[in-house]
Structures are given as C-alpha cells and as structure tokens.
C-alpha cells in the first residue's frame, strides 16, 4: 500500500513490453518521416547555407516571408490554388453524384460493374501516364486536336503548351476525368446503403424516378456529400502536384495559370535553389492547411459527431 503511483505503472510497462517493442519501427518511422520535418519548418526562419549546415545557418526572422509576400507570387499561387481546388470540389461532386445515381439505376449487374470499372480506370493510372494521354491530344505538331479535330471545324492549329488562356479549362477537364470515378465509388456505396423500402413506398405512391432521386436519394446521401466536401475544403490549400506539374509539361509560359503552392515550393527547392522562399511558402501552406482541417472538422463535428475525423 505504501507504493507510489509509479511502481504499478512500471510493472504494467513490463507486462506490455512486447507490445511496445512491436510499435518501435512504426513510431521511429513516423518520427523520421513526419515529426522531424515538422520541427524542420524552422528552416523558413533561416538563411540556409549548406557550408554551415542546416542547424548552424543564420536566423533571419520573418525575412523569407517578407520576400514571399512582397512579390506577386504569393497572391498568384494562392489564388490559383483556391480557384482550381474550389472549382474541382464543386464540379467533381456534382458529376460524381449524378454518375453514382445513374449507376445505381443500371439493372444489369454485370454491366454496372463494367461501367464502374471503366469510370474508375483513370483514377488508377499515374499522372505521368495522364501527361502522355494529354500530350497525344494537344501536341502542337502531331496532336489529335491540332491535326484531326480542329481542321474538321476549319480551325487553325493552336500551340497548346504556350497558350495560358486554355489551361484553366484543360486542367479542370483532366481533373474531372481522373477523379470523378473515385468520388462516384464513395457516393455509390452510400446510395447502396439506403433502405429499399423507401423506394418501394414511393413507387406505390406513384412517385416518379426524378421525384425519388430528389426526395430520397439525395437527402439520404447528404451526410456523405457534406463530409467529403468538408474534407476536401480542409485540403483546399494542397493541390494535386502531378496535375499541375506533369500535365502542362512544366511549361514556363503556362506558369501564371498553372502555378499552385505545391509547384511553387517544388520549383523553389529543386530548380531555383531558393530554399528560403520555398520553405516560407511551404510553411504558409502547412499552417493555413492545418487551420482549415481543424475548422472543417469542427463544422463536421457540429453537424454530426459520428462523422467527424476527431
């Protein structure tokens, strides 16, 4: 009885030592891959000099951020990131709901499975391959559009990879093409979960298909729609790097409309060697991203505790 609170605790640790041993590789991994970089964000407040080493480099306070926000870059990349991701969220959600509802209407099971597999195929392949697929359409000298489609309408060839004005549309189409299948699978799973009795009752009452969709399907999958949308909003500061890097082939003239925070950070680090600027942009993204995740999760949990991430 005279034992302090610690002795039983250590006894317990001994009893569970095998379990703690099991966790060592995973925890060590997370420390290296996730926690060290979290502390590494201090780089944004330093003037990195490889000769001195990262730790010994001079502190420069908020100077990197001052530079970043003084240029037009910060505004452009933030605007692009939010506008692209915002339109992706809206268009993908609408498309995916429509396709999922339609897919649920397909009576022949084999056909439904085939349709779903094909619609999901673009999601399966890497962005590098998508880059090739887009190139075969848009290549200036040999692309399908320039040599086959545009001449059919009597239009002149276009130097796609040098004309920024088309890219907001191109990137949006590619994004929808690649990701609708994924969201559709999620919404379809929610639709399949709806009790059939609702539809049977509605049919007996003479409700049309359209009325059933509006009064039963959509309201009942609304929680899933809300959650997927809020999670996406929580990640609105992060872009699909591959889409903005591979698909435009990293073309310089397109940068004003294809540059997002992720490509800016990448270019600063790998091409320009401007670590100060790129780490400042990276930390700006991490911090705002963190706040948005917390905020969107707070909204989800206010609506429905069950569905919140935490």
């Amino acid at each position: 009885m005279a034992q302090t609170g610690w002795t039983p605790f250590f006894k317990k640790l001994k009893r569970y030592r095998a379990l703690f041993l099991m966790m060592i590789p995973g925890i060590a991994y997370l420390i290296i891959n996730n926690y060290l970089p979290m502390f590494g964000v201090v780089i944004a407040f330093k003037d990195i000099n490889y000769a001195k080493g990262i730790l010994a480099s001079d502190w420069v306070g908020l100077k990197n951020f001052e530079y970043l926000f003084k240029t037009a870059d910060a505004y452009i990349i933030t605007r692009n990131t939010i506008l692209y991701n915002g339109s992706f969220i809206i268009l993908n959600t609408v498309m995916a709901i429509a396709v999922a509802i339609l897919l649920n209407e397909v009576r022949a099971k084999l056909a439904a499975r085939f349709y779903q597999s094909v619609i999901l195929l673009p999601f399966l392949i890497s962005m590098v391959i998508v880059g090739y697929l887009v190139l075969s359409m848009l290549s200036t000298e040999s692309g399908y559009l320039n040599l086959n489609l545009l001449p059919m309408f009597g239009m002149e060839p276009i130097s796609w990879y040098f004309e920024p004005k088309y890219w907001p549309y191109i990137l949006t189409i590619v994004h929808i093409w690649k990701y609708t299948g994924y969201l559709c699978v999620i919404f379809l799973a929610a639709i399949i979960g709806i009790d059939h009795e609702y539809y049977e009752a509605a049919t007996i009452d003479g409700a049309t298909k359209w009325q059933q969709i509006r009064a039963i399907t959509v309201p009942l999958i609304a929680p899933t729609i809300t959650i997927m949308t809020l999670l996406a909003i929580g990640r609105i500061f992060y872009s699909d790097f591959g889409l903005f890097y591979q698909v435009p082939l990293n073309s310089g003239p397109l940068q004003p409309v294809t540059d997002v925070i992720d490509t800016y950070v990448y270019r600063g680090l790998m091409t320009l060697g401007d670590i100060g600027m790129s780490s400042a942009a990276g930390l700006y993204q991490s911090l705002v991203g963190f706040i948005l995740v917390l905020l969107s999760n707070y909204i989800v949990s206010r609506r429905n505790k069950e569905n919140a991430l935490f």
Binding site: P37, F39, L102, S126
Partner: protein, 292 residues
C-alpha cells in the same frame, strides 16, 4: 417496377458515352504507338492508323536493357515497400487496437496528428538528403512511401479493434502465449481482408510513384518505370542521349510513336490485371473514405 424498364436504354446510352469518354485517350495512345512514324508526322496521332507499323516497339526492344532495368526497379520497390510497409503498419496498429495498453491515447494521437499537420516538402527533402543521405539510393524510393502518414495504421487499428474479440486474446495470453505469438498466429490470420486491402493500396502507390524518383533520383540507372516515362515525357531524346540501352541506335528513331509505345508498355501490366483486383480496389477506396 415494370414502368422503370423504359429508363434502362437511356441509362445504358449515357454510360456508353461515359465509358467512351474514359477510354478514348487510351485508345488514341495505343493506336498512335502502332502508327508508322511518317504517318504521324503528316496526319498526327489518330484513332485509326493510316499506316500500321510496329517499328516503335522494335526500337524499344533494342532499348530493352533500359526498360527491363526500370521495370526491375519498380518491381523491387513495389514488393519490398508493400511488404515492409504492411508489416510496420500492422505491428504498430495492433498494440494501438488494445484498449488495455498503457499510454494508448497518447500514442494514438501521435499517429493521428500526422494526418493533420505535415512539415511539407522542403524540410522532408532536406532531412532525407542532408541528414540521411538518401539521394540516389533505392532507399529514397522505398522509405517515404512505407507509411506516408498514420492513415493506413488507423484503418488497420479500427479493423483489429472491431473484429478480433478481446476474450480470445486474453485467454491465449492466460494460456501462456506470448504477445508476438498471439499477433502472428491469431491476429494476422483473422485480419487478412484488411491486410489484403491495404496491401493493394500500397502496391498501387509504389507502382505509380514518380514523385520520390523526381526529387531524390538523378541517376538514370535507378529510375523506376514511372521516372523513365517522366523523363521521356519532358525530353523525348532521353533514352538516346543516355544510351541506356548500351546499343548502337539508328540515326532517326521514330520518336513520336516510340513515346506512345513507352507509355503503353508502362500501363499495360496494371490494366491487364485491373479486372482481377478492381473489386478489392473499390473496397479499399470506400473504407478509406469513411472514418478510420
């Protein structure tokens, strides 16, 4: 329900259009790869080859050393990464699924927090290259993707916690089984569905990964197939300049079709086996979307 039958042809018609929209870039890619180079130059890439030719593939066959090497790298990192990643994840997820584990909530939070905040590209890159010196090593293609963050661990933990009765574990422990024995002879066999699902997702992630190669690998011998494709996309002459094939090449390789043939070879394996794993793939996507 009979009245609904009139909708069916309309629904199918819509899906046939959607399927065509999803597939036509792939068809264009394949058709372009089997078109005679001169036909591409005068008519562009098209859905039906005006002049059929397998020249691009025979050119790539001359270059096969580079292709085989890249495929070797991809297969190696995919197998090792998936196996090690799955093992580490399960080993971490199992103790966290045990409510009786001391410090459980703190450790779970440690795992969970990696989903909320990350240091971003610059510190991650500097730590892997400056601290661990992984630039131009196979490790750089394997390590970053093992867990990425705690997401898969939380999914596996939930499965363990919900589907393995505590009583079984307790009685085995009382009977004298060690925790490791319980883990590999009871927990793992009971968890094959989730392990298969997560394993599939890891496999696809490794197979498709080009990002780690892009930032950590500059040595062409270490390029995975995705990285080789990546280089060829930006620089059509890449194979020739680096002479990765180690063979004398023709003066005028049919580059427009070769490029497309490369991409075909790059996606072929995945597309061929897709029908066999699509069911599990769909399952993996849906469990990932609902709360872990």
């Amino acid at each position: 329900m009979k009245t609904n039958d009139m909708y069916q042809p309309v629904v199918h018609a819509i899906f046939i259009i959607l399927v065509a929209l999803c597939l036509f870039p792939f068809v264009l890619l394949i058709m372009s790869s089997i078109t005679e180079e001169s036909a591409i130059i005068s008519n562009g890439y098209s859905f039906w080859p005006s002049e059929f030719s397998l020249e691009a593939y025979s050119y790539l066959w001359i270059q096969k050393a580079a292709m085989f090497n890249s495929y070797g790298i991809t297969i190696l990192i995919t197998i090792v990464g998936t196996f090690v990643g799955l093992l580490i994840s399960a080993l971490l997820a199992y103790p966290l699924s045990r409510r009786d584990l001391p410090l459980n909530s703190m450790l779970s939070f440690l795992v969970f927090f990696t989903l909320l905040f990350n240091g971003g590209l610059v510190p991650t890159y500097l730590i892997y290259t400056e601290v661990f010196h992984m630039k131009n090593t196979l490790m750089a293609l394997i390590i970053p993707g093992l867990l990425t963050n705690g997401f898969f661990i939380l999914l596996i933990r939930t499965f363990f916690a919900n589907s393995i009765p505590v009583q079984i574990i307790e009685s085995a422990y009382i009977d004298g089984a060690s925790e490791f024995k319980i883990f590999y002879s009871m927990v793992l066999p009971l968890s094959l569905p989730i392990l298969a699902t997560i394993g599939l997702m890891l496999t696809i992630n490794y197979w498709n990964d080009w990002f780690n190669g892009l930032i950590y690998i500059t040595e062409p011998n270490l390029f995975s197939i995705q990285n080789l494709l990546n280089r060829m996309l930006v620089n059509i002459q890449f194979l020739q300049q680096n002479n990765l094939g180690g063979q004398q090449m023709s003066a005028n390789p049919p580059m427009n079709s070769v490029r497309m043939a490369m991409a075909v070879i790059g996606i072929l394996p995945l597309i061929l086996i897709y029908p066999f794993f699509q069911k599990y793939f769909v399952k993996g996507l849906t469990i990932g979307a609902v709360k872990g």
